[in-house]
Amino acid sequence: MSTVVCPECEAQVELAAGTEAGEIIVCPDCGVDLEVTGVEPAAVQLAPMEQEDWGE
């Protein structure tokens, strides 16, 4: 199990098994969206804000 530090609130956030780079996870403490930028070693950054043309 890898752990990262939330760049917003400095909480320790655990990455679930099978997490992949490019996934979005939510910090359980402050609720901010985090983008997983690396798995080995684990790294996250604040996810980009939703844009107007985003969707399906």
Partner: protein, 290 residues
Amino acid sequence: MQRRLKIGVLYSRVRVEEKWIFGAMEKRGIDYDRLDDRAIHFDLEKPEAWRQYDAVLERSISYNSGLYALRLLNAFGVPTVNTAAVAEVCGDKLMTSAALAREGVPQPRNATAFSPEAALEAIEAFGYPVVLKPVVGSWGRLLAKINDRDAAEAVLEHKSTLGSVQHSVFYIQEFIEKPGRDLRIIMIGDKALTGMYRNSEHWITNTARGGSGELCPITPEIEDICLRASKAVGGGLLGVDLVEHPEKGLVVNEINHTMEFHTMQPVSGIDIAGEIVEYAVGIARMNYEG
């Protein structure tokens, strides 16, 4: 050594759908590349790098990034799922409506205007309530239900003052008293793969807005309207949204060309990601076998 068939998957975020798609690729032993749309660039004088792909499956969250990538790939002769032409129509509600109207596919009544004054006139001709929608946008964002003239005037002024240029294309749709649900049908080529009711107490039923899913059996009527809708926009992998209109019966509300299916796959029990991959491989194989 003979070249292997290769697929590119263009994406913005690894949502659960992309994880399932990557998993389906790997399960089938397909040679594929993950293409993050924030990391790629296209040199028009060097299309060869892109021609290594027998097909590119587009899963961008950003409509603009996805659309322009598809246009370039198609210009390079790289087959894509879906094609740029389909994305152009499906990503723009007005173009979708025009395509449906051209082919006589039932849809909600709608009108378009290019100034707040003309939009107000069109709204008054419809009668209240009406729904104002941005022509480009998704996940139920910025939809406005307009119940009276005061609200119409306020929203039109806000849109023309605060919105981007695109918000000055006023797309007006009749408000449909639907039975607390709409339908999402997944089309893969000419086949209605599976369907789901999206239930919600709110008039916006997108699951992105909290609507819940329930399996919807594919009736001949559903299959027929979805096939006609799919053909009208150019076909491919599509999420067709239907609404039960109290007078008109089933109507096509919108068509999604990079549909999400995180609710649909568990509700239907169907391996939608696997079906998507099979479809993309079929397109790639035509290019591969030349």
